[in-house]
Subunit: 166 residues, 2 copies
DNA sequence: TATTGTTATACTCTATAACTATA
DNA sequence: TATAGTTATAGAGTATAACAATA
């Protein structure tokens, strides 16, 4: 008998269903809680967190930052505009490549990050209260693998049902 | 010596950092891949998936659906409007409580879901290709716990730094 | 020609407040 | 009074195309 095209058995499919439904909910919940408890969106959080790394103390090119965060350069531009409006980041010219612009924290941005950092730690503690150290290690690993697999998904275009009614 | 307010040690804090950064990326990536590979957003996916459950074959009150998906009724209204525009769902009156309205799939919505369901299974398979059955079970459990913990996070308002520059 | 950044547009989603009609 | 749904509005994020400057 030929193997089915739709690979997985039912039990696995249902498990997958739960995994991705939870991921959906977690994404929402994280977004909401970030805004409510920290006053910043998750993208802004990610941008500030990236720029605060010692590695990027002198800044990072916009396109590189976009790759790191998995955000397109057009959309990252919008995010940066709002952060610039609030005085937290700025863009400066690159000495080498004249097309490139370097994104970095302003002094105010650095202060803001320092102040919010303790709050973020408390956020982490509460949000993962029931995890042992080993469970955290294991979860990080799982999420890494999942992120990598998810990014590679590519289905053939054939068989995509029309979504719009007439 | 009194315990520190900012609970966790550095190693745990860094682990937490990675966990939530991955969650952020996964949320983004899932959103993007959902639109690209399936042609629907994650909220729409969740709504259609919920309504397609046998349990809700006869529909579900809007507020109940909102709770299930963790989306406010105002925002769910917008999501439903777009799905109604495309002919996939409709809202009908509730015989009992006259304030309530029941959301359900249209025949077209049911067909659409049936057609896309196989695609979603393939999506799942690729997106979690490197997970054993046991790893899936364990991941579901971790995500459940995390979702529950995350939803409960509540930090005191004091010490929230001002975000806006002058 | 390809890349970097930018501008522009349309759409979707989210947060919040206010309103209505029931209960 | 409280709840279910709706309307309205502002803000944010995303997808896509097109353009200028530089490599």
């Amino acid at each position: 008998m030929a193997p089915e095209l739709s690979s997985s058995d039912n039990a696995t499919d249902q498990l997958n269903n739960r995994i991705f439904f939870r991921l959906f909910q977690l994404g929402n919940e994280l977004q909401r809680q970030s805004v409510q408890q920290l006053g910043i969106t998750t993208v802004q959080w990610a941008v500030l967190g990236a720029l605060s790394r010692e590695k990027y103390a002198s800044g990072i090119p916009l396109s590189q930052l976009g790759e790191y965060l998995v955000v397109t350069r057009q959309n990252l531009d919008g995010v940066l505009k709002r952060l610039e409006r609030d005085g937290l980041v700025r863009r400066v010219a690159d000495d080498g490549d004249k097309r490139s612009r370097i994104v970095r924290l302003t002094p105010r941005g650095r202060t803001f990050w320092k102040e919010i950092r303790a709050r973020i730690s408390l956020f982490y503690d509460q949000a993962s209260a029931h995890f042992s150290f080993d469970a955290r290690v294991s979860l990080v690993h799982s999420l890494n693998v999942l992120q990598s697999d998810l990014a590679k998904v590519e289905l053939s275009k054939v068989g995509l049902p029309k979504r719009h009614g007439k």
